[in-house]
Point group: C2
Chain length 465, copies 2
């Protein structure tokens, strides 16, 4: 299905749904949403949990609707904020800065703030993405703005459903209007998690899972106004030079047609069996103060549901009975321990309905070559337990128990993960990272073997994150 058909399809679908969720009430962006609309979002999340085959009264996910609603609300609070309120009172008179241009008058020059850390919800798939924002402006009218206000204004627009280029444009335009400088330029470097390619039955060792999320989709965008607008302009050269001091290189433009990986999902009407879930997502958009009929949002409910359905309960049959020990040529033996390191995985946090992903390291005792388990089998076990609503602690335990049931003597499992729900708190572009460890059988008493295995992980060059 081509892009045009795609659009036609999502438009049809959206029209069908608009009756359900009452999108003709015309709730646009800008007005502060009512606090009670969190309840509506919570109800919609319950529909999503049911669609995933879960009991929303189960202890672990009982408060998930509350948490998801809160995260969506906090992450889109920019709809209720006004740039004027932020900038007002933070414009300071400074001598020597003329009205018209940067260094007219001699010394009023470019001001650049680099490495402002933000995050947004992607308007195409509703997953959060991470942003490094760099802003330059040339003061005019004998006034400068408090430096922290640049990041606060940027955050007003980041806290909406966004696309990198529109976000850059909105920040740039708001600063131009509110500060009235000689020029503004905004550069964003954005990182979006990968989507799993397709759902495969990857318990077949001949076709190991593609369900990996290594690396990020990266996009750099730029938006400029005033004297910073023209490429090759001297002020613009200065701006790019000052970014380069911190290792920030501005691409000439991304070659991606769509930056969000969900946009390359094939849509098919026949595949849409989750219309209740799709309606629920459309109603969330509306509760957040968005218009689900806005062109860019038309396919969003479908894409978000498509993503969620990767983690439907029991979507994989437990075919682990077929698990066999077989001889392979493996160089990864240390002492009597066989190690499989850096097995990639992606799972879905049941507390926040957001992915966590990373690598699994497995070690087990194995004296003979016949006792080695093929890497693809272990990967299948990881995939099986990852593809559902999870918590990292339980995932670690389940993988360990399953392998222990086969190998008997002793197993150690370490799971290292980034939780996307941590993006909003994060340092770097990935936030903090979580490690869990499960130890069974002889590993619990054999400290030397355990230390050897952990040391081996340290040495392996894990490229996750």
């Amino acid at each position: 299905m081509g892009a045009l058909e795609d659009i036609r399809f999502v438009e049809e679908m959206a029209l069908e749904l608009s009756a359900d969720c009452g999108s003709d009430s015309g709730a646009g962006s800008g007005s502060e949403p009512e606090p009670e609309s969190n309840k509506e979002i919570e109800e919609a999340v319950k529909v999503l949990l049911q669609g995933l085959g879960e009991d929303h009264e189960r202890e672990g996910i009982k408060r998930t609707p509350f948490r998801v609603a809160k995260a969506f609300r906090d992450g889109t609070k920019g709809y209720g904020q006004k740039v004027k309120d932020i900038v007002e009172g933070a414009l300071f008179p400074e001598a020597g800065l003329e009205n018209t241009a940067g260094y007219a008058g001699g010394t009023g020059g470019l001001v650049v703030v680099r490495d402002i850390n933000l995050f947004s919800f992607c308007e195409s798939c509703l997953l959060p993405f991470s942003i490094q924002c760099h802003i330059g402006y040339i003061p005019a009218g004998h006034r400068v703005v408090g430096l922290s206000k640049l990041s606060r204004v940027a955050d007003v627009f980041a806290k909406r459903l966004q696309d990198p280029q529109r976000l850059a444009n909105e920040i740039c335009s708001a600063l131009q209007t509110s500060i009235k400088p000689a020029g503004v330029s905004v550069v964003l470097q954005c990182w979006h998690i990968q989507f799993p390619e397709t759902q495969k039955n990857n318990l077949d060792p001949k076709h190991p899972s593609e369900f990996e999320m290594q690396g990020w989709v990266q996009s750099s965008v730029c938006s400029s106004s005033g004297v910073l607008e023209n490429e090759g302009n001297s002020f613009r050269d200065d701006f790019l030079s000052l970014l380069k001091f911190r290792g920030i290189n501005v691409d000439s433009g991304s070659s991606l047609e769509y930056w969000c990986p969900s946009r390359s999902l094939k849509m098919s009407k026949s595949g849409v069996t989750q219309s209740a879930m799709i309606s629920a997502v459309a109603s969330i958009l509306q509760s957040l103060g968005e218009d689900p009929m806005r062109q860019e949002l038309l396919g969003t409910p479908y894409r978000y549901v498509h993503w969620l359905m990767n983690f439907k309960k029991s979507i994989l049959e437990p075919k682990l009975n077929g698990l066999s020990l077989r001889s392979i040529n493996s160089p990864k033996r240390i002492g009597g321990i066989h190690s499989e390191l850096n097995l990639p995985f992606c799972s879905q946090c049941e507390h926040h309905l957001l992915p966590f992903y990373g690598v699994v390291h497995v070690g087990y005792y194995c004296e003979k070559e016949e006792e080695v388990i093929e890497r693809s089998y272990i990967h299948s076990i990881v995939h099986f337990y990852g593809c559902k609503l999870q918590v990292q602690e339980r995932l670690t335990k389940q993988i360990a128990e399953t392998i222990y049931s086969v190998v008997g003597r002793g197993v150690i499992v370490v799971v290292e993960a980034n939780h996307i729900c941590m993006i909003s708190r994060g340092i770097e572009k990935i936030g903090s990272s979580t490690a869990t460890i499960a130890v069974m059988g002889e590993f619990a008493s054999d400290r030397g073997s355990k230390a050897l295995f952990l040391d081996n992980i340290s040495k392996s060059t894990a490229s996750w994150g």
Copy 2:
């Protein structure tokens, strides 16, 4: 004066002051302070501004009391927060985790969250410091805690006046009490800005300024309980291994007597001429819900005022008339441009009363060797304009204008700075960075020379930050 005398001195001073600020009302930590107490803090900040020789009605600093009060209040909001409220509802039942120890039952193992980014106000000097926090715990009682709650509990204690070791102890003890796990361990890596050594008249080129803030004071601390308490314990080994995966090495303990550099300031009663300012700071401590008579806080008002007084208006006489052009052997000439790169500076942001610091790069046209200005003179100019309440834009302009008045033909000045007020928003340990540029005379039209100079900065290995 030795440490003991120091303590006696601050105790005496504190007793004298306690009458002024009414510290006998017994305001301890824990109770939510009244909102109107922000007004008291604002009044105290006005006293500080007056003590610095400033007019607190001046446009640029009119709202500084408001901003400083808000920053102190936000940065100490942990006094009003309860760990119980955070953890309640975030303890999830998980099978397989026994009551007593980590891998009893086979699989209940260590959970580690690494690289939680926090900041605190230093209880010794009231400047913020930056923290990377790493927490490990071993679930017990068949329940795990939501991962994000570990960082939220840590933040409750970070948002108080703190010292690294006490912060680690308080986080550890709160988690042990609220989650009741088999054990908890907390590792903090903390960074504190350097203090300028002493106030010198550094306009004497024979004794260039020591007023530099390169590098950070770093301290690593650890606090543990339960089965993670004993060094050499197997669980503890696991914890240290999982930290090592992310390059985190736990020191065996810092050798610093005091980690805050202000603690090595020599105190002398004769030097205390700012008793109104010191009383004002003591009243701020009280408004924040602290007890200014708490042992660790006794010298804090003195130290904070001592720090502020580095930036008293006109503390340096403008001796720039003595500025001379003189011949030196300098290899830093590119074309007809002479460059002085990476001149360190520290200044004080007049909007937040917090330092910003970094490096200044200066370029100017100079055809003959006799026209070269000695580096120490340029450094003196930088120091002269840095040592007062400033904004980075003005500092840049003033340095450019002063040098232009001597060299005539053309000057370019670039200032790169970290603003400590950005620590609270920051990625990495330093937050975002700000660059400003001023261009005068022929540099404004000579794009080639400007590009050459900027390129040269990129290539110089600035070690600031």
